[in-house]
């Protein structure tokens, strides 16, 4: 490219208003695109990070969610005796039999109620998930109507201070603690004594069983072992994979919505860029004629205008990515279509997302700039020189 880069940059700078408006339009598209990808990344990160790497989760065969699953007490007794289940420090199986139910709670900033997961568990549930730590107050006492709530629940729902009482399953439950689950899906849950929850909901069976495996066997080997016992018709998954799978439907929805918005916005921004570049060509017809007369070739003029369009788009792209990084300071709560429970997650920016957003910006620049650049390169020199 022999047309000086400074010529391109200064031409953008002297047209401050049009450059600003066009770059602003592009920034908006890139902002939306990057934010959607960040949301999807946040969702995946929240659900992928949920659970421990060596934890195995058992659900009834064919159940996609914990709420749908049922594990009978006699099945649970058999599982507890399996050699693959690691022992806790007190020599008892490191295994948690859990009941998972949904309740409705009033959000603090909305009129409607939202579904919240209530997990009936025991101290073993905490032991299996060392990332879940009480940040305020205490653990619930076994056999009591105490509950501990995730940090996202404490933030987004009304009457969720320590000592407040929540009514569900025809009982008042007292909040005795808040736990921090390091921005995983557990942060959007309420944990309670399993036996109390089973009584309150009149349930005899558990929803899931989570255990720590003694050795690193492939999940297929463990599945085969369970399949070989006709009494245990269960699905076996790594706990992290189980929660990751729960992000699929919502992730797909976010991506489709995001892509639709991005496509619609980007068409507008690309047309804006095309108009700006066309105006640039029209205003500089005489300059183009002069450059061609001096000996610059058509391809050099085409490249110069195309680069100008790309630079313009990249300015917008960088502004958009910069703006999107501020989304990391906010959280997003929505219903997970698979579990029907509310899930709180943040926006997460990664280098790949920034790169993808800048690629989108570049594409808009290329598409928006191609026609005007082609037009500029193909102007007749004599006609261009006559232009004022």
């Amino acid at each position: 490219m022999r047309v000086p880069f400074q010529y391109i940059i200064r031409n953008l700078l002297v047209r401050k208003v049009t450059t600003g408006l066009t770059a602003g339009g592009m920034a908006l598209v890139v902002f939306v695109f990057a934010s959607i990808l960040m949301l999807d990344e946040g969702l995946k990160k929240t659900l992928v990070n949920t659970g421990e790497i060596n934890n195995i989760i058992l659900t009834r065969k064919g159940s996609d969610t914990e709420v749908q699953s049922t594990i009978y007490r006699d099945q649970a007794s058999i599982i507890e005796t399996k050699p693959i289940v690691a022992n806790s420090v007190d020599a008892t199986p490191l295994l948690s039999k859990e009941l998972v139910v949904l309740i409705s709670l009033q959000k603090s900033n909305a009129k409607q109620q939202s579904n919240v997961v209530v997990r009936g568990t025991s101290t073993k549930g905490f032991e299996l998930r060392p990332d879940v730590q009480i940040s305020e107050g205490n653990f619930f006492r076994s056999g009591s109507s105490d509950i501990v709530i995730g940090s996202a629940i404490a933030k987004e729902y009304s009457n969720t201070n320590l000592g407040d009482q929540i009514y569900f399953a025809q009982r008042l439950w007292t909040i005795v603690g808040v736990f921090d689950a390091k921005k995983t899906a557990f942060d959007s849950e309420i944990w309670v004594s399993r036996e109390q929850l089973m009584q309150a909901f009149r349930r005899k069976n558990f929803s899931i069983i989570v255990f720590r495996s003694t050795e690193k066997q492939s999940i297929n080997t463990i599945q085969k072992e369970f399949d070989s016992d006709p009494r245990l018709s269960l699905d076996v998954k790594l706990e992290q994979d189980f929660y990751k799978d729960q992000s699929k439907a919502l992730s797909k929805f976010i991506n489709i919505l995001g892509m639709t918005l991005t496509i619609i916005f980007s068409v507008g921004a690309t047309i804006g860029s095309m108009i700006t570049m066309n105006a640039a060509v029209a205003n500089r017809t005489n300059e183009i004629g002069t450059l061609r007369a001096l000996g610059f070739k058509k391809i050099e003029i085409l490249t110069a205008f195309l680069i100008e369009s790309i630079v313009l788009a990249l300015i917008g792209g960088l502004i958009g990515v910069f703006g999107a990084t501020f989304m990391e300071f906010s959280d997003f709560t929505t219903t997970n279509f698979q579990t029907f429970a509310d899930l709180s997650f943040g926006f997460v920016m990664t280098p790949i997302i920034a790169l993808k957003a800048l690629i989108i910006a570049t594409l808009m620049g290329v598409i928006g700039g191609t026609f005007p650049a082609f037009h500029a390169a193909n102007l007749e020199i004599v006609d261009a020189l006559r232009s004022k």
Partner: protein
């Protein structure tokens, strides 16, 4: 007559104006000597600017032969012609045609970007030429910070920075006051007499022809006289 640098034989050029064909040049025959200073004169629409554009290689004839330094430029491809222009022709326009977003130095450096010179040599050469035209103290000035005469001198510096064989000037004094016009004409005359540059200049101004050593009159697309100037 010394060796001709420009040899034009039966040159014709027409344009379409709507559906009407306008014959602008009707079989021009002309020779311009190497190191000469030729003024093309004639009323508006006589075809002088068209003839200059053809000689400069920014337009192509319909019929006829147009040879510059022995090369038939009408047979060159678009890219070859662009390269030929960058190496052989220096342009001076009536309205200077400087890039408004580049400084005087950057404007002069522009044609050198098409050469093999490195950045340091390009800069040094641009500065030398600007000093030669008396604008050594205006290197970093943008065109809108210069007077018309100064802008035309920057344009002249740009035209000669590549040391071209031929300088074409289209009404170089047409937009200047009397004093600035006189400065520009004197500069062109120096380039011709001291640096030996061949100059072809289109002008309306009879007084501008005193710097030329040959005046060619055109009217209605035909060459009506070709006379030595009485300078």
């Amino acid at each position: 007559m010394t060796t001709p640098i420009v040899e034009i034989t039966d040159l014709r050029k027409s344009y379409f104006r709507g559906e009407q064909v306008v014959e602008v040049l009707k079989g021009i025959n002309l020779k311009v000597s190497e190191g000469g200073f030729t003024a093309l004169m004639g009323p508006s629409g006589s075809g002088k600017s068209t003839l200059l554009n053809l000689i400069a290689g920014i337009d192509k004839p319909d019929v006829g032969s147009l040879t510059i330094s022995g090369l038939d430029i009408s047979s060159l491809s678009e890219n070859d012609l662009a390269e030929w222009r960058s190496n052989n022709v220096g342009f001076i326009f009536q309205f200077y045609n400087l890039m408004p977003v580049l400084t005087a130095e950057q404007n002069v450096e522009l044609p050198l970007l098409l050469s093999d010179l490195d950045a340091k040599s390009r800069k040094s050469r641009s500065r030398t030429i600007l000093e030669m035209v008396g604008l050594g103290d205006r290197l970093d000035h943008y065109p809108n910070e210069l007077s018309g005469g100064q802008q035309q001198r920057v344009a002249i510096a740009r035209a000669i920075v590549t040391d071209p064989t031929l300088i074409v000037a289209d009404e170089p004094t047409g937009d200047l006051d009397r004093n600035s016009a006189s400065d520009v004409l004197n500069l062109l005359q120096r380039l011709n007499s001291e640096a030996g540059k061949t100059i072809i200049m289109v002008t309306h101004d009879i007084s501008a022809t005193h710097v030329a050593n040959e005046v060619v009159h055109l009217d209605k697309g035909e060459l009506i006289s070709n006379e030595a100037s009485n300078k």
